[in-house]
């Protein structure tokens, strides 16, 4: 995607080479993809096919703790993929990133995965049909790619759409990471809001799981 996109967009609005600007977005996309695969396999697939999911729910943990378990395993695995992806992408960059990028990107990938894994867990709990799940997943991926600033800056969108998209928690994570990497500035609101949303969402997922299972 970036190979094609860089022929259209050579630089970001602030004159950063497109390959460098898009680096955090691509890393987040890889984090999302691996998180998705793990949540699908460990939660949705096991639940709808009645494979080992019910015995897990009978273990002596609250439903919120089980959700935290699904989140933890998926995020740890996705962070491993993020590290591998960063190594590969670095080799393709025209200019090296600052060393802090290799420290900050996994941290923000964690927040990004934390949010999206919660969304995937919600989908896995509320949907019972694979077709519904897949169509919702495609919509989610389209939103991630085009609605959170992964590939295209919000400045290219009409102003009101740009404002709406900028103020969703996923975009905040990516925008904040780019701000730190390219401009050395931090807006704590954009760090705290996604984290707080994720924590609240985790609790909500625990509640949804309890309702769904009637336990």
């Amino acid at each position: 995607m970036t190979v094609v996109m860089k022929n259209i967009l050579k630089f970001s609005v602030d004159k950063i080479p497109y390959e460098v600007w898009v680096f955090p977005g691509i890393v987040m996309l890889i984090a999302v993809s691996s998180t998705y695969a793990i949540i699908y396999r460990d939660l949705f697939d096991l639940r709808i096919h009645k494979k080992s999911f019910m015995p897990i729910t009978l273990s002596p943990y609250s439903k919120t703790n089980l959700v935290i378990g699904f989140l933890t395993t998926s995020i740890i695995e996705s962070l491993f993929h993020v590290l591998v992806a960063m190594a590969v992408l670095t080799a393709l960059l025209p200019e090296p990133l600052k060393w802090t990028a290799y420290f900050l990107t996994p941290i923000f990938a964690f927040i990004y995965s934390f949010l999206l894994a919660n969304l995937m867990i919600t989908l896995s709990i509320v949907t019972d049909r694979i077709t519904t799940y897949l169509s919702l997943s495609i919509m989610m991926f389209l939103f991630v790619i085009f609605g959170t600033g992964v590939l295209v800056e919000f400045d290219f969108y009409p102003e009101y759409i740009g404002i709406i998209l900028t103020n969703n928690p996923l975009s905040m994570v990516l925008s904040q990471l780019r701000d730190l990497l390219f401009y050395n500035r931090i807006n704590w609101e954009w760090v705290v809001t996604p984290l707080a949303t994720s924590i609240g969402w985790t609790w909500l997922n625990g509640y949804l799981l309890k309702r769904k299972l009637k336990q």
């Binding site: 009978l58 273990s59 002596p60």
Partner: protein, 308 residues
Amino acid sequence: MEASITLKKVGKLIGDKTILASLSFGVERGSLVAIIGDNEAGKSMLLKVISGIEYQEFGQVFINGLDAQKRRQEVMSSIGFVSHELDLDPWLTLEQNIQFMGMLYGIDTETINTRMVQLARELHIIPFLKRMVEDISPGIVKKGMVIRAMIHDPDILIMDDPTAFMDAESYRHTWDLLLRLRGQKTILYVSQSLQEVEEAHDRILVLEDGRIVLDGSLDKLLGSTFEFHQFQIEFEELSEDLFKALSKLPKVKNATRIGNSIHFYGRERNVFFEVLNAASTAIMKDIIVKKLSLQDLMDAKYAKDGIH
């Protein structure tokens, strides 16, 4: 004896349909209790409610004296559940499935492995432990599920058709293990095999439309309910007059005609001789006398109405 499981007016609804209707009973610690009943009688739902898979709409379930709903996390460690469906993770080995569940219950790896190998040896599935579940036959998977349910050493085993999909040898190995645990663990199971239930039980619960219609040991159920024998006489030719005459004998109960055979029940064996006397002019081909079995008990007509 102390109750391991106690149900107090437990009711379960699905939509408008009553699945369990105000069930109250206790299960003694260390006893082996079989639940039987027709399809849709509520057997599996009863196991789900007791094991905490589904909550009841009404009443309370107590496990070792603790309210299963209010103190779920304490109660869950006491229960091992085997579902009817094969529900191991197909993308893991049998061993990984069992180890994962042991770890969920906070058991250390060494204890998990020791217990797993011991149980696997008893069930003769050691060679299958390292194989992927999707590559193993259903009977072996079911045995793996039995081990998984026991890996955290629960006091109570709740099993929905524990020997489903098993061949005769696997069935015997599984029951050898379960009968060895009789007295140490409370075992509550559902089975479609009445022969299995006749062979392995301290107590039988017969469920019908979400209600317990019969409760007790096989001898008690058959003794208190019927004390009947079942008779069948096949004639070379059974005329309508003869059938009517035999049916009207005072001690003959529920006489039915099947071709040239008369089938009936009697409280004492001497009923049979009265029938033989009454039918002495006709030529008889075959005679069958047997005590009532669980199968007869489960015959809906007699379970509901008894023999009149």
